[in-house]
């Protein structure tokens, strides 16, 4: 079986500053991986490099999704190929309603995948159904994208987009940040509902908290631009107890 996501010795920098310094990671279909690490270890950079944000220079290594080389693909081509990033800070876009945006996005992805676009009525049914499951009401669908949304609403909205777009690989960047316990549970339920044999997930998180609700198959510790340790879910608990200090030293002196 070939990997869903295969990252090999990836190096990336912003200007003169190296951030990813030879990162390797492989995720199989159906697996949920968690990457934990201290602030500044490069976790969010990894999510941006994988999804194709401007401003990062790839210095070496490779990244493949379903065997497709991501390096030269535009962000939307990666989305069509099945890459989904749930943003740590979802953008507010005034004037564009949630509904309009979701429909445009879904149809762009479907077109790209060689599928037929869906019509307004079908879409409405689909969006409402997915929204209801996440506790997103009609009112939220009609409002401009994320404008005036609470932190919890923004994160639920990200999961809704993921549910609609049905990606191959979902990267959740600090999706737990800024959520109270009830909001966290709702989001986690949404994520769990999207676990599927053909889909991979990469949870980027600073704390163990999210992992109480979304059980990962593999946990990685990231420090100083590399994966410094990998293990099972028990690794997350260990980190919660002992902190990152050991790993930071290890990474710096490696």
């Amino acid at each position: 079986m070939s990997s869903l996501l295969e990252i090999n010795n990836l190096q990336a920098s912003v200007g003169d500053k190296p951030i990813l310094k030879g990162l390797s990671l492989s995720i199989q279909p159906g697996e949920v991986h968690a990457i934990m690490g201290p602030n500044g270890s490069g976790k969010s950079t990894l999510s941006y490099v994988l999804s194709g944000k401007d401003g990062y220079d790839i210095g070496g290594g490779s990244m493949h999704l379903d065997g497709q080389d991501l390096a030269d693909m535009e962000p939307e081509e990666r989305a069509i190929a099945g890459m989904f990033l749930a943003f740590q800070y979802p953008l507010e876009i005034p004037g564009v309603t949630n509904m309009t945006f979701l429909k445009a996005s879904l149809n762009a992805v479907r077109r790209g995948r060689g599928e037929d676009e869906i019509d307004a009525a079908q879409f409405l049914r689909l969006a409402r159904e997915k929204a209801r499951a996440l506790g997103v009401d009609d009112e939220m669908l009609k409002r401009p994208l994320n404008v005036g949304f609470s932190g919890g609403e923004k994160k639920r909205n990200e999961i809704l987009q993921m549910a609609v777009l049905e990606p191959r690989l979902a990267i959740l960047d600090e999706t737990d940040s800024g959520l109270d316990i009830d909001a966290l549970k709702t989001v986690a339920e949404g994520v769990n509902a999207l676990r599927a044999p053909e889909r991979g997930m990469l949870l980027i998180t600073h704390y163990q908290r999210l992992l109480d609700f979304v059980k990962p198959d593999v946990v990685h510790v990231m420090a100083n631009g590399r994966i410094v340790k990998s293990g099972g879910p028990e690794l997350a608990l260990e980190l919660e107890a002992s902190g990152y200090a050991d790993y930071i030293d290890e990474a710096v002196h490696a």
């Binding site: 962000p75 943003f87 876009i93 004037g95 945006f101 445009a104 996005s105 762009a108």
Partner: protein, 393 residues
């Protein structure tokens, strides 16, 4: 513009009303001359110079479908009323020089001197109406419109100006207690100077939406007088500027009484060599306490050529007020663009999306669903026609 004096000589016999008063207005206008940037009110629109530019070709005019509103209609072409399906209008000439107290503005005076026709609509107490005024044609036209709403009356007024030539249009509007006016301006072509004066009595509400997308010259100046408590003005403009378009929105919002409110926004999407101008002056008169006046001007610069000029002014003479203004000028937000692309939209589509969203904020203050739907369709068609793919990049 043609020579006003000789034009006046040609047409004066055919013009209704007091020819002598017209001649005086013309005399004053000629003495002032066409506005230049030396006049603060015209600081960024040097009309004397602009009118010397060659006229610009216009992109295809979009006929906007207002049928869902089932409006009465009246149409002007070349300054002449062409058709009115029993719009319930009073007789013109009701040419009055009221509403033109600002005799220092030559364009108002030219309008007084040369006005050929116009709407006179007096909506009685509790009356309700939707009126669509369309203006077409390439010949120069001077229109003078007068509207008054009695207590509790409600009017949706749509001024759809598709004239491809020069037009000088004046609106004089009186809103009595508890009346409500939704006033829409569509401008798609030509060289248009529009001047409006609206006076609001107690608890009267004005919602004004300007959608300007012509590629030549548009100047929309409005004076809004909030004369009694509870009066409220929502003034929102969207400008789609391309090619050599010069679009100017200028407001004077005069809070003459306590407990009045105004909210003004302006959204400029500029490409090509377009120039966008927003001037807004909020005046809070002495003793007009508890006024709430907000003003925001935003511009999105879509290419290398455009220019945006903003002058949001506050002139405050009362202390217990909430007044703020803001201006933000910049390119399309790169993070928003990236976000949309991670959701599968290609760059051109994502840009168009952001531009559309930006412009459509102009509709936020309007709660009339069918009207919003018509205007949304207008905006989307306009953006597709005017910006299209590529020219926006």
């Amino acid at each position: 513009m043609l020579d006003a004096a000789s034009y006046f000589e040609q047409v004066k016999q055919a013009l209704p009303g007091d020819v002598e008063a017209r001649a005086q207005a013309l005399h004053k206008a000629e003495a002032l001359g066409l506005p230049t940037r030396r006049l603060e009110h015209w600081h960024y629109t040097d009309l004397a110079r602009l009118l010397k530019k060659p006229t610009q070709e216009n992109a295809a005019l979009v006929a906007t479908d207002f049928s869902a509103l089932n409006p009465s209609e009246v149409r002007f072409e070349g300054g002449v009323m062409q058709a009115s399906d029993d719009a319930g209008l009073a007789d013109w000439p009701a040419l009055s020089l009221t509403g033109a107290e600002d005799a220092s503005d030559a364009m108002v005076l030219y309008n007084q001197a040369l006005a050929q026709a116009g709407v006179v609509l007096e909506l009685p107490e509790g009356g309700q109406k939707t009126l669509l005024v369309t203006t077409q044609g390439s010949a120069p036209q001077h229109l003078s419109h007068h509207t008054s709403l009695a207590r509790g009356a409600e009017l949706i007024l749509i001024d759809d100006n598709m004239a491809s030539g020069y037009s000088n249009v004046a609106w004089d509007i009186e809103l009595a207690e508890d009346s409500k006016l939704t006033f829409v301006h569509l401008q798609q072509a030509g060289r248009q100077v529009a001047t409006s004066t609206v006076r609001l009595a107690e608890n009267a509400t004005l919602t004004r939406l300007n959608l300007l997308s012509g590629q030549d010259i548009a100047r929309h100046a409005g004076t809004i007088a909030l004369q009694a408590a509870g009066a409220r003005a929502e003034l929102h403009s969207a400008i789609l500027g391309t090619d050599a378009a010069h679009n100017d929105v200028t407001y004077v919002i005069d809070h003459q009484a306590a407990d009045t409110q105004s909210n003004t926004t302006s959204y400029h999407a500029l490409a090509g060599q377009a120039r966008g101008v927003f001037q807004g002056k909020v005046i809070v008169q002495r003793d007009a306490q508890r006024v709430d006046a907000q003003m925001q001007a935003r511009a999105m610069m879509l290419s290398d050529g455009p220019e945006m000029d903003a002058k949001p002014e506050l002139e405050i003479y009362a202390d217990d007020v909430q007044c703020a203004h803001g201006t933000a000028i910049g390119e399309i937000d790169a993070d928003a663009l990236f976000f949309l692309r991670t959701r599968g939209l290609d760059e051109a589509t994502a840009r168009q999306f952001l531009i559309t969203g930006f412009i459509e904020q102009v509709l936020d203050a309007c709660d009339h669903e069918p009207l919003v739907a018509s205007l949304r369709a207008h905006i989307e068609t306009k953006i597709a026609t005017v910006l299209g793919q590529g020219s926006a990049s």
